[in-house]
């Protein structure tokens, strides 16, 4: 039944109060543990087409007569277009149309970073469009740029008002602490680098815009375009059936989509606007740099009595300021906490959400600080974490929390410490470190799904969600198959097309499975109920006496057992249609994910080389739908996080603000040779308060603790305090040198 509620909606750690219509279903959760299909390994439904190169990505969309659009980008960090002249450009061969500042959303007159788009050209070929863009004459009025985030804070240049938080009495708590430690931690800008760059192909058919967009949120793009073009949402059809990675950077339409739509309208032809890799690494978003000044106070018994943090998010020219202080506020039971977070507005490319924005950065600082406290108190870091276990999220009860169970799963890996340290030989020092994690990931309403059961007994799930590569298509098929009692092979999932299915939420914030999964289950249950009703009438038994198991419709007393295809075959062209909606989140509860990772490293103290040798991860995300896909998510998050920790760093020229590391030889993501042994374990307990499924999302949690766990392992191995990401050889050698000086001054060090 539909119900109107006023509720708090969370996406990527951002909250807003919204009105929501929610529909509740009467389904009870499946028992915990593996079911027939859910909770087991399932290979990807779309694996073969992806592996065989048959899957059509936005990059593969070629329409007859398609033009190519290229953006003119600002060469200055802060400058206004004083005059722009297209005369030369328009005379070049193949040029069909041009857009000046203001003619499409995202084309600005005042550029606030090097690379911000100001104009666009469409031409017959990409090469012609590029040449024409170079021929646009622009007179720039150059303004004074600010590139240093600390200077921006001093000058009170913010993208958003500073966010302050306080509980308890921090001053008094620090005064009463036995030990107080302060530290400054820095994280660098890192880039999403989705293999498929941001791109869109737009064509108009009558008054309808067909937009093929590489996106994590087809409905968001649909609404963005409808609003900008002033047309009804249903006159925009957004298609993204296969998507080449997003990691948070593809949640909205962005300039390339607006430009393609406007140029397609103007020229009457389809228009592609695709970013090059170098454009991608300038203007498609980033995980912003942070500066974290942290302070912790503890008692001899290991109780954390006070936590304080001043955070600067170097947001860039625009964008939001992620909740970097979240882990410090949420991970431990501490009565006295005070934080302030500044979103520094500087003339560099804007941040975008990147796989647990804020929490990745904030967990690095916090979890390093916790280990430094453990060292000072001479306490086992795992024991210190257990002693400060939080029973509520600042007074709000958890819908479920099994972090202690994660700690127990981690114990055997943590117990390898002596064995690992004993491997140290010569200049190679070995050590073990850990870090734990919390994050959102509960999803929420609304999301809808339909099921269609044909008289051949095959089931199609229809929902206009996305599979951005995480395997949600397969998870939805598993859920429907489980509920309907049919083999997984009998279920197909149609997704990625806003004109072909009901609304489903964005694929970000670890929200797809927990948001859409329950709707799919409800839609499957709706269809199943109808099949049971029909079977009961056909065989003149009570509905309760009929079940479907492994694709066979049967009575519990064994009177009949007919394969679903045979049974529904009677219906010829008739179809069974089911519908389902995502129910509400539990009122008054905090829905969060938790985990811990234990890392083993080797450090060459002469050359500063750091090798991550083994990572053991234990995560609590409620019920696991696909155990195979879940392990892939954990591995992928850890590997991406190892890149952030050791080798990835976006650099800009300090004078001009221009991004220097736009190519993949300079911006170094991990290769297969950099991968450690990874062991992943799950608590796999359904969240009994959360939906008919009890599942939370897993896309983001695994990337959160890895950096701190590596840094803590380095400290264990060498005694060096690493306070900056990435831990390049330069940073590692600096930290080793500092540790040596500390030791010479008589302070204890572990080497």
């Amino acid at each position: 039944m539909a119900r109107l509620i006023r509720t708090e909606k969370e996406v990527e750690g951002r909250f807003e109060e919204v009105w929501l219509v929610v529909e509740e279903d009467p389904l009870t959760q499946w028992p915990s543990g593996p079911q027939a299909i859910v909770g087991r390994d399932a290979v990807r439904k779309d694996g073969p087409e992806r592996v065989r190169g048959e899957a059509r990505y936005t990059a593969d969309v070629q329409l007859p007569g398609m033009l190519h659009a290229v953006l003119l980008r600002s060469p200055h960090a802060y400058a206004r277009v004083a005059r722009i002249d297209f005369a030369r450009a328009l005379e070049l061969p193949g040029v069909r149309a041009a857009l000046k500042p203001g003619e499409a959303k995202g084309l600005v007159e005042e550029a606030e970073f090097v690379g911000q788009p100001v104009a666009a050209i469409a031409a017959d070929s990409l090469e012609q469009a590029r040449r024409a863009v170079e021929a646009i004459d622009v007179e720039w009025h150059v303004l004074e740029a600010v590139l240093d985030p600390e200077e921006a804070v001093r000058r009170e240049l913010f993208t958003i008002e500073p966010a302050r938080y306080e509980r308890g009495d921090v001053e008094q708590a620090f005064a009463g602490a036995d030990v107080v430690i302060e530290g400054t931690y820095r994280t660098s800008v890192v880039l999403h680098n989705s293999m498929e760059t941001h791109q869109a192909v737009c064509e108009w058919v009558g008054d309808t815009l067909n937009a093929y967009v590489s996106t994590q949120y087809i409905w968001g793009v649909r609404d963005n375009l409808a609003e900008e073009l002033g047309i009804p949402g249903d006159k925009v059809r957004v298609v993204c059936e296969f998507m080449g990675g997003g990691f948070g950077s593809k949640n909205g339409a962005d300039e390339q989509t607006y430009v393609a739509a406007v140029l397609a309208k103007r020229t009457g032809r389809p228009v592609r606007c695709a970013l090059s890799r170098r454009e991608e690494n300038v203007a498609a978003g980033n995980r912003n740099a942070t500066i974290q000044k942290l302070k912790i106070g503890g008692r001899r018994d290991g109780t954390i009595v006070a936590l304080e943090g001043e955070y600067i998010n170097a947001v860039g020219a625009s964008g939001w300021s992620a909740m970097t202080e979240g882990p410090l506020r949420m991970l431990y039971a501490c009565e006295n906490v005070r934080t302030v977070r500044y979103g520094a507005k500087i003339n560099t490319p804007p941040m975008k959400a990147f796989r647990a924005p804020g929490f990745v950065e904030g967990t690095f600082g916090l979890e390093c600080l916790i280990d430094e406290l453990a060292e000072k108190l001479e306490l086992d870091p795992l024991e210190l974490r257990k002693r400060n276990y939080a029973d509520s999220n600042d007074g709000t009860p958890y819908s479920s929390k099994n972090l202690m169970e994660c700690y127990e799963l981690a114990q055997k890996h943590w117990d390898r410490r002596d064995e690992v340290r004993a491997r140290s030989t010569g200049t190679w020092k070995h050590g073990v470190g850990m870090a734990s994690q919390t994050w959102f990931g509960g999803g929420g309403p609304p999301s809808y799904a339909w099921t269609r059961v044909g008289s051949d007994g095959r089931i199609t799930v229809v929902t206009a969600m996305q599979d951005i590569g995480t395997g949600t298509r397969t998870a939805m098929a598993q859920i429907a198959a489980e509920e309907l009692g049919v083999p997984l092979d009998d279920v197909d999932v149609v997704l990625g097309d806003s004109a072909r299915g009901p609304y489903a939420t964005l694929s970000a914030g670890s929200s797809t499975t927990p948001s859409v999964g329950p709707a799919v289950r409800a839609a499957a249950a709706d269809a199943k109920q109808q099949i049971l009703e029909i079977a009961a009438q056909r065989h003149d038994v009570a509905e309760d006496d009929v079940t479907i198991e492994d694709g066979v419709v049967k009575s519990r007393d064994g009177k009949f057992a007919t394969p679903l295809s045979e049974f529904l075959g009677l219906l010829e062209d008739a179809q069974i249609l089911g519908k389902g909606a995502r129910g509400p989140n539990p009122a008054g509860m905090s829905v969060l994910t938790f985990g811990i990772q234990v890392v083993e490293v080797a450090v060459d103290i002469e050359t500063g080389e750091v090798r991550v040798e083994r990572v053991a991860a234990a995560h609590d995300v409620g019920r696991i739908v696909n155990t195979l896909g879940a392990r892939s998510q954990v591995e992928g998050g850890i590997i991406q996080g190892i890149g952030h920790t050791l080798s990835e760093q976006r650099l800009h020229d300090p004078e001009t603000g221009r991004i220097l590391t736009t190519t993949l030889d300079a911006y170094r993501m991990p290769t297969i040779a950099d991968v450690p042994e990874i062991v992943s374990e799950f608590v796999d307990q359904p969240d009994e308060h959360l939906t008919n499924l009890g599942s939370k999302g897993l896309g983001e949690p695994p990337i959160i603790p890895i950096a701190a766990a590596i840094a803590n392992a380095i400290r264990d191995a060498t005694g060096a305090d690493v306070h900056e990401l990435p831990i390049s050889r330069e940073e590692m050698l600096r930290a080793l040198e500092a540790a040596k000086r500390k030791e010479q001054r008589g302070a204890p060090a572990a080497v």
């Binding site: 002469e606 050359t607 090798r611 004078e655 590391t661 170094r668 390049s728 050889r729 330069e730 050698l733």
Partner: protein, 272 residues
């Protein structure tokens, strides 16, 4: 643009020579190189290993798999670039590759491009040079050149024979080039003098597919040791021993490279 594919040296007449294309093609696209005529020289440059002689057209992948070449060269090839690039790139082309300096690649009007300042010196230079970096702080990225320098390789070109060390020159105010190769001159063969043993060690920030942060080749010959270094100067850098690091002139953010070079040189010497 036209592409010629001569089968005989006598057919080569001007144009931009290209072998595997791994460097030439991207630089053409970026407008750093320009050409109306491209000459695919794979049909005219010798390929393969014959005793101590290596055809300049031999790919890095072929050298990596060759059992008859000195260890330093084989290891330099093995750790260079990516598998696909090693399949495509020739040893002759590798010697002529340009710096990875981002300012140069992004076409800043730097000294190497004929301009009047080195943007890296005051800018981001953590991967730049520690020797001969006053005029231009770029670092030479060739692992193979460092190995061949330590091995004291000799080159035969279409015009002359020379020591590898003489192929390179430091850029200066009057001439911004980093090699002495004349227009139209092609490297045809390399010859390696006998060495007693050799080794190549490489510091990278990934375990594979990374240009050298510091590459150290060492070769023992007649009781002495020659070191060739990659990633430390605008050209492959020949030094006599670790004491030469005392003459390094690191920039504020490249001092770490001196420590890494010192450690790798000691290890290389110990492994010979």
């Amino acid at each position: 643009m036209e592409l010629l594919r001569p089968s005989d040296l006598s057919q080569v007449d001007g144009g931009l020579p290209m072998h595997g294309g791994t460097e030439v093609v991207p630089l053409l696209r970026d407008g750093i190189l320009e050409a109306d005529r491209l000459v695919d020289i794979r049909g005219v440059v010798p390929r393969g290993v014959d005793g101590r002689t290596i055809g300049a057209g031999t790919t890095l992948a072929e050298l990596e798999a060759s059992s008859s070449i000195p260890e330093a060269l084989r290891e330099a090839c093995r750790l260079a670039a990516s598998p696909q690039l090693r399949n495509m790139g020739s040893v002759g082309g590798n010697l002529l590759q340009s710096t990875r300096c981002w300012y140069w690649r992004l076409k800043y009007p730097c000294r190497l491009h004929g301009g009047d300042r080195c943007h890296a010196r005051e800018g981001e230079h953590r991967e730049h040079a520690i020797f001969a970096n006053d005029f231009c702080a770029s670092a030479h990225p060739s692992d193979v050149a460092a190995a061949l320098l330590a091995l004291d390789a000799r080159l035969r070109t279409t015009q002359r024979e020379l020591r590898l060390a003489d192929l390179y020159r430091l850029p200066d105010e009057s001439d911004r080039r980093t090699t002495t190769l004349e227009p139209g001159e092609l490297i045809l063969e390399l010859t390696l003098p006998e060495v007693e043993s050799s080794v190549y060690l490489k510091a990278m920030d990934r375990r594979r597919w990374s240009f050298p942060q510091v590459g150290v080749a060492a070769a023992r010959v007649n009781g002495g040791v020659r070191f060739g270094l990659a990633g430390v100067a605008p050209i492959p850098w020949l030094v006599t021993g670790p004491e030469a690091l005392g003459d390094a002139t690191p920039l504020p953010r490249t001092a770490w490279k001196v420590d890494v070079a010192r450690a790798l040189m000691a290890r290389a010497a110990a492994q010979l």
